[in-house]
């Protein structure tokens, strides 16, 4: 409406200055000190009240929760499969047989991961009957032993390098923990090579068996010391100087209630990883 009244730069500046501090009315940014005080007090009270209400509703909600078991478990009906150690980017293991520093990280990770599985750590755990679900009624829940020996060549006991120095890298495959999950049948982890046939693949324990005695899981709080059953995969790369690249796919097999095929979830009951070994 008043576009024709062009303001000079100086006028503009003066107006801004007056807006920032107006000495006649004592207004700072268009408000007097009292006005600022009131509005800030109002928002302090308002947001304070809002925060209190939020905290209260959150508290009420947390009261309804159980410390041991989450309220809903329908979002994870079936476990995912995951490998260890986890490479930094993607699931691609790259190392050079001749260069120990290239796989030192993996070995360190493995050693750290397997620490709870050592005999000393497991001596307080129970020896459970094999081949059956180990259901407990509480109130004290005990954990079953997982003898590291089951992993044989990949246990790190006979070969502290987990085969990396020999071109036979070990990779652990584990099934995600899910509270109350009871696998049916005889679950095992079946690993196949995607593209190569000269390379060998070995799984420990034998046939990649997962014993049912490790199920069901009763949660972090109740099930103290619980050891997740592990399966080790050892890929024996053909001894040649050329660069080797193999893709391995592992799947849960033998249990009808554990899914291993999903369009969206590429890790539901299966896992795929790549090993690239330089000479």
């Amino acid at each position: 409406m008043t576009k024709n009244e062009k303001k000079s730069l100086n006028q503009c500046l003066a107006e801004w200055k007056l807006f920032i501090y107006n000495p006649t009315t004592g207004e700072f940014l268009g408000r007097t000190a009292k006005s600022w005080g009131l509005i800030l007090l109002f928002y302090l009270v308002f947001y304070g009240f809002l925060a209190a209400l939020f905290s209260f509703t959150m508290w009420v909600m947390l009261q309804t929760l159980n410390d041991e078991v989450p309220k809903y478990r329908d979002q994870i009906p079936s476990p995912g499969l995951m490998v260890f150690p986890k490479p930094v980017t993607a699931l691609e293991y790259t190392f050079s047989v001749s260069d120990p520093t290239s796989y030192a990280g993996y070995i360190a990770d493995l050693k750290k991961f397997l620490k709870p599985y050592t005999l000393e750590e497991q001596k307080n755990l129970t020896t459970c009957p094999d081949g059956a679900l180990f259901e407990q009624k509480g109130p004290v829940y005990v954990a079953c032993q997982f003898p590291l020996l089951l992993l044989q060549a990949c246990s790190g006991m006979s070969d502290p390098d987990f085969g990396y120095s020999k071109g036979k890298p070990c990779i652990l495959v584990k099934m995600n923990r899910i509270i109350g999950l009871k696998p049916e049948g005889v679950p095992r982890i079946d690993c196949v090579l995607k593209n190569e046939d000269q390379t060998n693949i070995t799984t420990y324990p034998h046939n990649g068996m997962i014993d049912l005695k490790y199920f069901p899981y009763y949660g972090k709080k109740l099930h103290v010391g619980y050891l997740q059953p592990l399966v080790a995969v050892q890929v024996t790369l053909a001894p040649s100087s050329a660069e080797k690249e193999v893709t391995v796919e592992c799947k849960i097999d033998g249990s009808p209630n554990l899914k291993s095929q999903d369009d969206r979830d590429k890790f539901l009951g299966r896992v795929m990883f790549k090993i690239t070994a330089h000479a």
Binding site: M1, L50, K71, R73, A90, K174, G219, R264
Partner: protein, 986 residues
């Protein structure tokens, strides 16, 4: 501007046009335009070869084969109409419908969405190319985006088309008429039916229906400013005065205006072949600037605005206000001064009897009601005599065949005062027709302005068989004829006492703004027997020493709805100024009756009279009312006028000319007021144009005034303006509410992303869900607020100051973003944390989890209970949370919608009668449920079904919003002007 057209159109021809296109390296666009203009004017000049103005009348008659007294035959006119087509300008090439549609489909925000859709499908294409089995999300998202854009595009196109159709129909409701002579008969026809050779009659106030060659003219002046830019009216006659057809005086041009006088002419060009038609392409480029609201709303949802404005325009048309452009509705809402005419607008434009004075007593006639029964009853013989005179000495008569109508509604012949008397006597005394039959008129002298009386002689057909002379006229004139007076049926001789009483009565009634008539009679001696040849030119009968009977006064009564309307204006902070050509006394009386001057305010003169001090000594602050005479106004400086306008709340301008109206409007605008002006005459059009809202009268208004106005009152009623003001305010309020509602949900839409970054939690609300809110669930409720009815205070607050009270002010932003929006955001986060916690991720464990959460290869992420999640599994939880966040926003938007219904009143006062709003609530809820529960939505939009309990997480916060806002509004109502109002009343 003088001769402006000539300069533009003719001057370039005198130069060599070929010199102008200088072949520079970069011919600017402006230059190209100029070249085009020159070409156009060149063509115009070529075709301007017109010789009709040089022809004699005989030649003209042969050229158009038309008889210059009887005009065309109907048959011939029809033939020519078929040959030449209707007399209208081909409308400038309007944007084709499909272009308009495309504009809706691809303009502005839609373009953004299209880009999104295209990017999505491109991504999908790339994924197909590089990966064997790509996720279909991108494909579905692009399809959904495209569908949303097409649907909203169609909807807004439909709305726009509907509103422009309504505006178009408004234009057609005020058709232009022309008076033509065909087969010797004068007839009103629509302008588009005027054909070449038609004889057309024009008079002051008309728009010229076609190019005319005048064949007779009486004091005719035309305003050619729209064609030549000459602002002075040009006189027109039949003589050929100039070679140039634009200069000669015997041609009138299509679409110019006749300002005064009358003329008759032959149509020499119609439609596009008229001079105006040929330069139409040059003038149609003129576009009016944006009105303030148009500029403001550009930033906000245009669609909602169009809906609001269209609705209001329709509603106003039902209440007899035609709005010529949509934004005028809103301007009307901010009106702070209305300058109104008196006659016809504030008054009914007819006369009724208001008072009588006889037997030395003033009697009031009941004028308030519909006047169906007897309005006056008295047993005095004087009254019988007075009624006889009023009925007999009266030339007015009822038109035939109206016996069934109530008397007050019957049409009459004769002038307004006589009709008033006729109706009054018919109603209160007896049938005038019978009275006249019994007392036939034998001679009469009609009223004229020098006599100032009317006389008639009647023969009494009863037993007396005598003549009686009756007379009515200006009171003082009548008194001069009288030597006796009638008191309770007895004649007494005239004395000073009666004369004084008479004077007082005259003054009293005159002071009420009424037109007073005196009545007297004389029984002629029996010597004037039946059949006596009374001669009114050379008077052969006595016409002095009459007997005075009484006075009857009449008034043009105010429209019944006006006092209430004026009162509403006053409480709405709108100043009503009366501007009239009438006498100051009449003007003031009407002003007092309609409340423009209220009961307890006084003018300076009245204060002076009361305190017995000279007018000059009156304290100006005591006199709130003033009646300004046109002659005083003429001598005032603009500062003095400003002072009058500023210092008086109740102002009447009497005896003003239309030019002075313009001065008054300008004065008000100088003081920062938004002025609405009513007008009907040709001369009012400058004031109508100058005013912020020009209001023309649909019945009495001239074509010119209707063109200049922004709004047309179909019933000429002042009260309709007030309705318009109310609607204008309502639309502004509703727009505010709608914007408030729409802005609020921005906060719960933005904060999730902020906290996603700052707190490192999984994203609580995604892009698709935001789009679902903005384009889906918020749409109908926001529009439904346009249907909200007014709050009770709408006409009790001051008009908005367009410079200060913006549509969107900092208080609205503070409310929407700082308060309600924050509550909504908190509600959303609460729902989010509930779902996360119930699925195993407790709030504390979520903080900072983002990097792990988003890692596609981390497929054993541990939750608070030791369970491990794959990427996809936790993403499903995340998307479920987003769906729940979305549903929560919908639920808190319920509360927001309900609190946005009112700005001051409680919702309990306002009620929930807005059906569209209830539909909106249901619609958004069903849409939310549909999006959440329809199978396949997980693939298409990544929205997942929710557990019923998660719907209730928002409820405490919805209640909080409602209660908080009700308390806020309660405080606003209870402490007007208090801190809460100053900080939160948007």
């Amino acid at each position: 501007m003088e001769l402006g057209w000539k300069k533009r159109a003719v001057a370039p021809m005198e130069q060599n046009p070929r010199q102008i296109p200088i072949k520079g390296p970069k011919p600017s666009k402006k230059k190209m335009k100029r070249q085009k203009k020159e070409r156009d004017t060149e063509e115009l000049k070529k075709e301007m070869v017109m010789d009709d103005h040089k022809l004699t009348l005989e030649e003209l008659s042969t050229k158009y084969s038309v008889n210059l007294t009887t005009g065309h035959s109907h048959q011939r006119a029809k033939e020519i109409l078929i040959r030449d087509g209707p007399n209208t300008l081909t409308p400038p090439p309007t944007t084709p419908e499909w272009v308009k549609f495309c504009k809706q489909l691809f303009g502005g925000f839609s373009l953004l969405l299209w880009t999104g859709a295209i990017l999505c499908s491109v991504t999908y294409g790339i994924q197909i190319y590089f990966r064997e089995e790509p996720a279909k999300d991108n494909l579905y998202l692009s399809i959904v985006l495209a569908v949303v854009v097409v649907i909203t595009g169609c909807f807004s196109y439909y709305q726009e088309a509907k509103s422009s159709k309504i505006m178009e129909s408004f234009k057609n409701m005020v058709p232009q008429q022309a008076l033509v002579i065909r087969e010797g008969e004068k007839m009103q026809i629509n302008v588009q039916d005027v054909v070449l050779g038609d004889l057309v009659e024009i008079k002051g106030g008309d728009r010229i229906p076609a190019d005319l060659r005048l064949i007779s003219a009486r004091g005719c002046k035309v305003d050619n400013s729209s064609l030549t830019g000459e602002s002075e009216p040009q006189s027109r006659c039949t003589d050929f005065t100039h070679e140039n057809p634009l200069e000669t005086r015997n041609i009138c041009f299509f679409s110019t205006n006749c300002v005064e006088g009358t003329a008759r002419g032959v149509v020499i060009a119609t439609g596009d072949s008229t001079v105006m038609g040929r330069i139409a392409s040059l003038t149609s480029g003129l576009e009016s600037g944006q009105t303030p609201i148009a500029a403001e709303i550009e930033h906000f949802i245009r669609l909602i605005t169009v809906v609001c404005l269209t609705l209001t325009a329709k509603r106003m048309a039902r209440k007899n206000c035609l709005v010529k452009n949509l934004e005028a509705v809103e301007t009307l809402g901010s009106t702070s001064v209305i300058c109104s005419d008196k006659t016809g607008t504030l008054t009914q434009n007819r006369m009724i009897v208001a008072h009588m004075w006889f037997d030395e007593t003033t009697y009031e006639v009941d004028t308030s009601k519909e006047q169906t029964g007897k309005t006056f009853a008295n047993n005095s013989d004087t009254w019988f005599t007075l009624a006889q005179i009023a009925g007999l000495c009266n030339r007015a008569d009822f038109k035939p065949h109206q016996e069934t109508l109530p008397i007050a509604k019957r049409a009459t012949t004769g002038d307004a005062s006589e009709s008033a008397l006729l109706k009054f006597i018919e109603q209160s005394f007896s049938s005038v027709t019978e009275m006249r039959k019994k007392n036939p008129k034998v001679a009469e002298i009609p009223f004229n302005s020098t006599n100032k009386y009317q006389m008639s002689i009647h023969f009494r057909e009863d037993s007396s068989q005598t003549h009686v002379l009756m007379m009515k006229g200006a009171p003082e004139r009548i008194l001069e004829f009288c030597s006796t007076f009638l008191l309770h049926g007895q004649e007494y001789s005239m004395d000073d006492e009666l004369k004084e009483a008479f004077q007082n009565a005259c003054l009293e009634l005159g002071g009420l703004g009424e037109r007073v008539l005196g009545f007297c009679f004389l029984n002629l001696p029996s010597s004037f027997s039946k059949g006596f040849p009374f001669n009114t030119d050379e008077i052969n009968f006595p016409m002095d020493n009459l007997c005075f009977v009484g006075l009857i006064s009449m008034i043009d009564p105010p429209r019944t709805t006006v006092p209430e309307a004026v009162n509403m204006c006053r409480s709405a902070g709108i100043k009503v100024i009366m501007v009239t050509g009438d006498h100051p006394i009449t003007a003031k009386a009407i002003a007092q009756r309609v409340g423009i001057i209220s009961e307890n305010t006084e003018t300076a003169e009245e204060v002076a009279a009361r305190l017995r001090i000279p007018v000059s000594k009156v304290n100006p602050s005591d006199a709130k009312a003033i009646v300004v005479h046109g002659s005083e106004l003429k001598d005032l400086h603009s500062e003095q006028l400003d002072q009058i306008l500023r210092n008086h709340t109740e102002i009447v301008f009497a005896r003003t000319s239309p030019q002075q109206k313009l001065i008054i409007v300008e004065g008000c605008q100088r003081l920062g007021a938004i002025v609405a002006v009513t007008g009907d005459g040709v001369n009012d059009s400058p004031a109508l144009k100058k005013a912020d809202i020009g209001i023309a009268m649909g019945i009495s208004g001239s074509d010119v005034s209707k063109q200049a106005a922004d709004m047309i009152l179909l019933d000429d009623n002042f009260a309709s303006i007030v309705t318009g003001v109310e609607e204008g305010r309502l639309i502004f309020d509703n727009l505010k509410k709608s914007i408030m509602y729409t802005l609020t949900s921005n906060i719960p839409e933005i904060t999730p992303f902020l906290l996603f970054i700052v707190l490192g939690i999984p994203l609580p609300l995604g892009t698709i869900t935001i789009l679902c809110i903005d384009l889906g669930t918020d749409m109908v409720p926001a529009i439904s607020l346009a249907y909200e009815s007014a709050e009770s205070d709408i006409m009790k607050r001051r008009p908005r100051n367009p410079k200060m009270d913006k549509l969107v002010n900092h208080r609205l932003i503070a409310m929407a973003y700082g308060q309600i929006g924050m509550i909504q955001a908190v509600a959303g986060f609460f729902t989010y944390f509930v779902i996360m916690a119930e699925n195993g991720f407790r709030p504390m464990d979520l903080l900072g989890i983002r990097l792990y959460w988003e890692d596609k290869f981390l497929n054993d992420l541990e939750d608070s209970y030791g369970q491990q999640w794959t990427y996809e599994q936790r993403k499903v939880v995340e998307f479920t949370c987003q769906t729940a966040f979305f549903v929560t926003i919908v639920l808190v938007q319920w509360a927001d919608l309900i609190v946005s219904k009112t700005r001051r009143n409680s919702v309990f006062q306002q009620g929930m009668r807005n059906k569209i709003l209830i539909f909106g609530i249901l619609e958004e809820t069903f849409l939310a449920a549909f999006l959440s529960y329809t199978p396949g939505m997980d693939v298409a939009l990544r929205m997942y079904p929710l557990k019923i309990s998660w719907w209730f997480c928002a409820i405490p916060y919805s209640i909080l919003i409602f209660v908080y806002d009700e308390i806020r509004k309660l405080l606003i109502r209870q402490r007007p002007g208090g801190w809460v109002e100053r900080e939160t009343y948007y």
